[in-house]
Subunit: 464 residues, 2 copies
């Protein structure tokens, strides 16, 4: 009996070992294809330099969709299509956004004089404009929502400056972003509740430069919609220093507004499954980006990595068992209509979505994956860790997913994953004018695609 | 009995757990000090922008030593000193290094014409110059040492172009560097053996730009010393393409030479141990850098991190049990005289060196440590992994150390470690003109110091 058990164990072990060896070889083959012959970097150059900014509904996004469609076809998709969805059309409006701060300064021998300094401002996404004359008023410094509550009687008719800082003690910068992020999302309405005229926020960044970072604000319909801008970190430090020394007024002019909703598209390439074609695996990034940058890391990287996984699978002749969809989502930044549409149609068609992976944290060195899965699924996934570890994304954690694939999880309970990357540089460039092609490293970008391909391959082979 | 055993186990467990908790708190405290109040980035700015290039024996290195001494004192060292050592004094000599390639090109309607193209060249460190008139000759393309052996009869009186490429399939770029590195180190003498007049190497890099990368070549005294340059990757591709189409000649002019050895110094700051002052722990980087760059990553980063560990220990009031030496080594790049001197003096004085750590792989995000230790020591070290992992350097591997601390291991068997960092960007800038302050990210740099401090703290607490 003992002998039989041992034999059985050895056989089972041999089987697993041989399967893992096959997997290891296939992943290495795909990795080599990407690291040696990748088109991801050239594709990113085109998307950022030839197309550039591409907010939902903008002419740039239309061009990007056409590029995505063509590139998906050229990369070997069995089927490529544009999935129509209505998207919001927020425009910054005009090039004369401005911020000027006025304050008393003391010059020796002269006494107090009025000084001015230009602030580098960017209107928050989805925010309303001030009108062409702008807004001038005194500024109230607020370091936190608690402080806002304490000073709620002082903000009526004033401009509120939320100076909440990125916490540098967090090793993962996304923690700092999550904390500070609420000032961009909810700050304007929280201040409007107490009668503020406009809001300035300290950019959601820990960078050493002064670039302002935009990103969506989310008005609470219970309160007045008031203009809102972000300023760079050096300006924020300057403003808070000045406010510590006396009254400061700021002039802001912004021109944001919504035009009517317009037609946008998710770009979908597909490799049909050979054994279980009805089981769908989705891998994607979002094609839209803010209007003030090239969207190289956010999320050009995720798009070209997605296409690269497709290209590499085809190049090595990999025939997936399950159907793999490569999706460039529309409108992640200011509406999530692309992700919503993808899930709605899946539901209407009764599709079976077994897994979705999104790359939307930049084109930096991969560190791991964040999984939204059951305990049993996570156990299964952990067995794959050693196959992926050689390529860098060894840190498998619970929690993650992605904004565009979230609706699949809500609709079907589809297991999700996010590609997690080295986070140190991300908020230096996130939603800022320096999110450009030059800030992306070719190999880091490619390694992201390698790890995505490895995970997708394993899910395709073994399901969840 | 069972109860006693359980109690003993619980007690032991409680003790370990409480010690680990104390350690965890202390490491977190040091980490916060560094991430919130670090001076590493400002120190690096000064070293790179105010001092800049600092090859051994150069005026820049003298300034850097003075800066290091002063900064070590200001950061709280109990004792600071300059440890004298003789260093080589190689100079590039003159600013008119040049490379021009001449080849036949075919223009429609005109026929074959002679064309020229400038090459971006840099003499290899320690190489001899061509003389002011330069060298012009036909080029022989050699892709590997094997090919050199096969073509050894064709290189006499010619210029050999070693076009060995970085292997992009390696995930860790240091693997590619180790393979390709031998062409820089040994290529010139290997070619001289067969009568070559000069050597051009493809830069040791996988970058997307055309910057040439210098670095030390090591002449074999058995053969003639011949001039040697590196060219950038785009030029290397151009040259090999041209060579595939016919004869190509290249003009090279370099002016490298050795001046007499001169006096250099290791900069040593010390915190005296309170319990075991005779047990010495060394942590360091090297202060010298190549003359064509600011040496920001290589190894300004290691230097300011070393000083930052000192500053942070003092700032949180940590009193080490053992003596900790913070060392900025002289002359790592082209002679290793600083590291040799440090070890020689230690031997002469009968010092007891229990551990040494070097940071010399750039200021990128820390990924782990490479240990040169015994099996038992490694087992002990692995128990610390979970204390360091939250700060990023979780990947503990065997093998590593550092060029400057290597002699300690040879002399005393001292256990060594290297700080291992994300390697993707390193060889984009290594020994090239773009190794400048701007290529270093503040947080990545600081996280390196955090992880170094954590390891040094643990070795100080528990020894090896």
């Amino acid at each position: 009996m003992r002998k039989i058990v041992v034999t059985l164990i050895l056989t089972a072990f041999g089987f697993i070992s041989s399967a893992q060896n096959t997997d290891s070889l296939m992943i290495r083959r795909v990795a080599d294809e990407i690291l040696i012959n990748s088109k991801a970097y050239d594709n990113l150059r085109y998307l950022t330099k030839q197309i550039g900014a591409r907010l939902a509904g903008s002419p740039g996004m239309v061009k990007a969709e056409q590029w995505g469609f063509k590139t998906m076809q050229e990369s070997g998709a069995d089927k490529t299509r544009l999935q129509e969805c209505m998207v919001p059309r927020w425009v910054r409006g005009g090039r004369d956004e401005a911020g000027i701060t006025s304050f008393q300064s003391t010059t020796e021998g002269v006494g107090k004089t009025k000084s001015e300094r230009k602030l580098d401002v960017t209107a928050l996404g989805n925010s309303i404009g001030t009108g062409p004359k702008g807004i001038v008023d005194n500024v109230v410094l607020i370091n936190s929502f608690d402080e806002l509550e304490a000073k709620k009687d002082q903000v009526n008719g004033k401009i509120v400056f939320f100076n909440y800082k990125f916490n540098p003690a967090y090793v993962n910068t996304f923690q700092a972003y999550r904390e500070a992020g609420q000032y961009r999302t909810h700050g304007p309405s929280r201040a409007a509740k107490y009668g503020a005229l406009a809001v300035i926020i300290r950019s959601l960044s820990g960078s050493t430069d002064n670039n302002p970072h935009t990103g969506m604000t989310d008005y609470d319909s219970a309160y007045a919609m008031i203009p809102a801008v972000a300023i760079g970190l050096r300006d924020a430090d300057f403003l808070s220093d000045r406010l510590a020394n006396g009254k400061v007024s700021v002039f802001i002019r912004t021109n944001g507004k919504f035009l009517p909703d317009t037609i946008g598209h998710n770009v979908i390439g597909e490799l049909k499954g050979s054994q279980f074609p009805e089981e769908i695996i989705t891998v994607g990034g979002h094609l839209d980006c803010w209007d003030n940058c090239e969207g190289a890391h956010d999320d050009g990287a995720g798009c070209v990595q997605t296409i690269e996984v497709l290209r590499a699978f085809k190049a090595v002749g990999y025939k997936p068992k399950r159907t793999i969809r490569f999706v460039l989502f529309a409108n992640e930044e200011n509406g999530l209509r692309g992700g919503a549409k993808y899930s709605e149609e899946a539901k209407a068609k009764g599709e079976h979505h077994i897994f979705a992976l999104e790359s939307d944290a930049g084109g930096f060195t991969p560190r791991g994956f964040g999984f939204v899965v059951s305990d049993d699924q996570f156990k299964k996934i952990m067995q794959w860790q050693k196959l992926i570890a050689p390529f860098g994304a060894a840190d498998f954690i619970r929690g993650g997913g992605g904004a565009d694939i979230g609706p699949l999880n809500k609709a079907f309970g589809t297991p999700l994953a996010s590609l997690n990357l080295d986070s140190q540089r991300y908020f230096d460039i996130h939603h800022a004018r320096n999110d450009v092609f030059e800030s992306v490293n070719k190999r880091e970008l490619e390694l992201g695609a390698v790890n995505m391909a490895a995970l997708i391959y394993l899910v395709d082979q073994y399901g969840l």
